[in-house]
């Protein structure tokens, strides 16, 4: 029973950690499938995290914060699009520029507006954060031995954006594979010339794709600062944007495998948090440094050996120049 409880709590932690990662990875999915490298996820997410926390702190509404986060991330995405799609700039350089700009701009604006050392105020007023939603009967179900705990801990008790992230996976798969827009989006990432000869505007499609990626990054950022924690602090994304990109590649640019990759990364992270200082059978207490390196070691091993060849969209990273 003890072991069962630990496993359920571990899985619940996996879901919590996976949500922002998954949202960012789906953002990357749309961007990369259209042929635009998604290295800017980190910056868009961080910008959204800052805007969401700042607006929520001022207005007292997490929903307005979410809106501001999305608006900020979309603005950054369009800026990236302007540099890379319209002016055919180097996508890696432009995305890194955005990441570095946001990393400095967020704390600077926070310092100017709130005077709290580059953080936003703590969000603890009613409605300033997305709180955990407890499903009906969850507390009563806890006492039911087996499925009760599963229901109370694993399904119930997450914040709204976690459920949203989960719902977005089938939606993304449907949009990509079952709609005309999705077909065109995938085509533009593989062979933009063919799309162009069919009379469809390549650049417009790519702008739409990066805007969608902005919206999703906006939700991911708001998830970090107004749901998973209470306010913005410097560099709070802590590399999650890059990890999301790794998950996307690991998931071979497909929605469901990407979900699997995000869950795996989140699981190793949650496991690392729980393994520290715990004596394991045979080996005893594992050194902290080894535990902290575990998710990265696993990533390298998996990417190196177990997933097979990951084939990127053919036109990824190449700007499209219409022939005159």
């Amino acid at each position: 029973m003890e072991t069962y409880t630990i496993i359920v709590l571990l899985l619940a932690a996996t879901i919590r950690v996976a949500a922002p990662l998954l949202l960012a990875a789906l953002a990357g999915l749309f961007s990369e499938r259209s042929g635009v490298i998604a290295l800017g996820l980190e910056g868009m997410m961080l910008g959204a995290a800052f805007a969401a926390a700042a607006v929520s702190a001022v207005t007292g509404s997490a929903w307005l914060g979410l809106g501001a986060g999305i608006a900020t991330a979309v603005a950054l995405a369009l800026l990236l699009g302007f540099a890379c799609i319209t002016h055919r700039g180097n996508q890696v350089v432009a995305a890194m520029a955005i990441n570095i700009m946001v990393a400095g701009l967020g704390p600077t604006l926070a310092l100017g507006w709130f005077n709290l050392g580059g953080q936003t105020p703590q969000l603890d007023g009613p409605g300033q954060r997305f709180m955990s939603l407890v499903w009906p009967g969850a507390d009563a179900a806890r006492s039911v031995p087996f499925p009760g705990l599963l229901y109370a801990e694993l399904l119930s008790g997450h914040h709204l954006l976690v459920y949203l992230a989960a719902a977005l996976v089938p939606l993304a798969a449907w949009v990509l594979y079952r709609t005309r827009f999705g077909l065109r989006l995938r085509a533009v990432g593989e062979n933009p010339l063919a799309v162009d000869t069919a009379g469809i505007a390549v650049n417009r499609l790519r702008y739409q794709a990066v805007a969608i990626s902005g919206v999703l990054c906006g939700v991911a950022g708001a998830c970090l600062s107004t749901a998973a924690s209470s306010g913005f602090v410097r560099d709070m994304t802590a590399g999650k944007g890059y990890l999301a990109l790794a998950a996307l590649i690991f998931g071979k640019w497909k929605p469901y495998p990407t979900l699997g990759a995000c869950l795996l990364f989140a699981f190793t992270d949650a496991l690392a948090a729980r393994l520290q200082g715990v004596a394991l059978p045979v080996v005893g207490v594992v050194p902290v440094q080894f535990i902290l390196a575990l998710p990265y070691v696993l990533t390298v091993l998996l990417l190196a050996g177990f997933v097979g060849k990951a084939v990127a969209p053919l036109a990824l990273g190449t700007p499209y120049a219409k022939e005159k």
């Binding site: 409880t5 630990i6 709590l9 932690a13 919590r16 950690v17 922002p20 400095g104 600077t108 310092l111 005077n115 709290l116 050392g117 580059g118 953080q119 703590q122 603890d124 955990s132 970090l224 998973a228 924690s229 209470s230 306010g231 602090v233 410097r234 560099d235 709070m236 802590a238 590399g239 992270d269 949650a270 948090a273 729980r274 520290q276 200082g277 902290v288 440094q289 902290l292």
Partner: protein, 330 residues
């Protein structure tokens, strides 16, 4: 043609001589360089700023301040202040140690004070704290408040300073309850570990899951996540560095405070009075340099019996009857 530059040289030499002559007569001018996080970080730097403000209020002497936004600015800021005639420059945070060392060598007549680090030079005062003493008291408070007999510690970056907190805390918990179990987690091994509240919350939830019901954090902004997780799951947390009781009233048991303000004020006051000395200064419970916080936000959580035991232990540590070990890096 050579006459003109030579004349300039002579003039320059005269000016330099005048400046040298004027130097001893210059008035007292204190300066302070904050670390990352800035003046109003609700923690370490803010405490330093309060000390500087108190000094200005008490003496009417303005303190020059500098808030760095990137690492390269530290040295520039100190050189600028030294050139413009600062008498004493206080640098906040262990990351400034190398900058202090270089600038202190360049300006042997200027006094420097480094908080939370050691630089061994004839014009540098290194101010450190006995964090293990306040951590010990917090460990006692945690063990007394715990119903499960299990308490937790979450550190930021894995460095000797944080191990020092952890050791004192563990000893304090065992002092009250020898059978107490103390879970210990570090957030990471890079400076990013100071600013990851999501990870902090996750680590806290894992410790609560293992049965802990009080967690002490020494993890900077990561700790905000720890305290939030404690509040959301109905457990207790203990704040660090500055008094964080007000963050979540009713769920913050107490805070291990480090009186950086006292250190800054004392350094300025000593320099002004002429009693300033270079070398190591260590502030502990006896000097009011560290302690635990008790205010209207946690009054209801600390029972009179707990308070009595804590005050007794405090007195015993000060008198030397109770020894708290200090973590030494291997």
């Amino acid at each position: 043609m050579m006459k003109f530059p030579r004349l300039l040289l002579v003039l320059a030499a005269a000016a330099a001589a005048a400046a040298l002559h004027a130097a001893p007569a210059r008035e007292f001018s204190p300066a302070i360089v904050y670390d990352f996080g800035g003046k109003f970080d609700r923690s370490f730097n803010q405490s330093a700023a309060e000390g500087a403000a108190k000094f200005t209020k008490d003496t009417g002497i303005a303190v020059r301040e500098f808030e760095i936004t990137n690492a390269a600015q530290r040295e520039q800021a100190m050189v600028q202040m030294a050139r413009r005639g600062a008498t004493i420059i206080v640098a906040i945070g262990f990351t400034q140690a190398s900058a202090v060392e270089r600038v202190a060598k360049q300006f042997p007549d200027v006094k420097f004070a480094l908080v939370d680090g050691v630089v061994d030079l004839p014009n540098v005062q290194s101010i450190n704290f006995r964090e293990q003493e306040s951590s010990f008291l917090c460990g006692m408070a945690a063990a007394m408040a715990s119903k499960t007999g299990k308490v937790g510690f979450i550190g930021g970056m894995d460095i000797p300073l944080i191990r020092k907190f952890a050791l004192g805390y563990t000893e304090g918990a065992h002092y009250v309850n020898p059978a107490a179990e103390v879970f210990q987690n570090m957030t990471g091994t890079t400076p990013a570990a100071w600013g990851d509240p999501t990870k902090g919350a996750e680590l806290a939830r894992s410790q609560f899951g293992r049965g802990a019901d009080v967690i002490f954090h020494a993890a900077g902004a990561t700790g905000l996540g720890v305290m939030l997780a404690a509040k959301e799951t109905g457990h207790l947390s203990i704040g660090c560095d500055s008094n964080q009781n007000y963050l979540h009233p009713g769920s913050v048991l107490t805070s291990a405070v480090k009186r950086v303000d006292v250190a800054v004020y004392k350094a300025f006051a000593a320099a002004k009075a002429g009693t300033w000395r270079a070398g190591q200064t260590v502030l502990g419970l006896a000097d009011e340099g560290v302690g635990f916080s008790l205010d209207e936000f946690n009054r209801a959580l600390i029972t009179p019996e707990m308070e009595a035991r804590l005050m007794q232990a405090r007195a015993d540590i000060i008198s030397g009857k109770l020894k708290v070990s200090e973590y030494r890096a291997q």
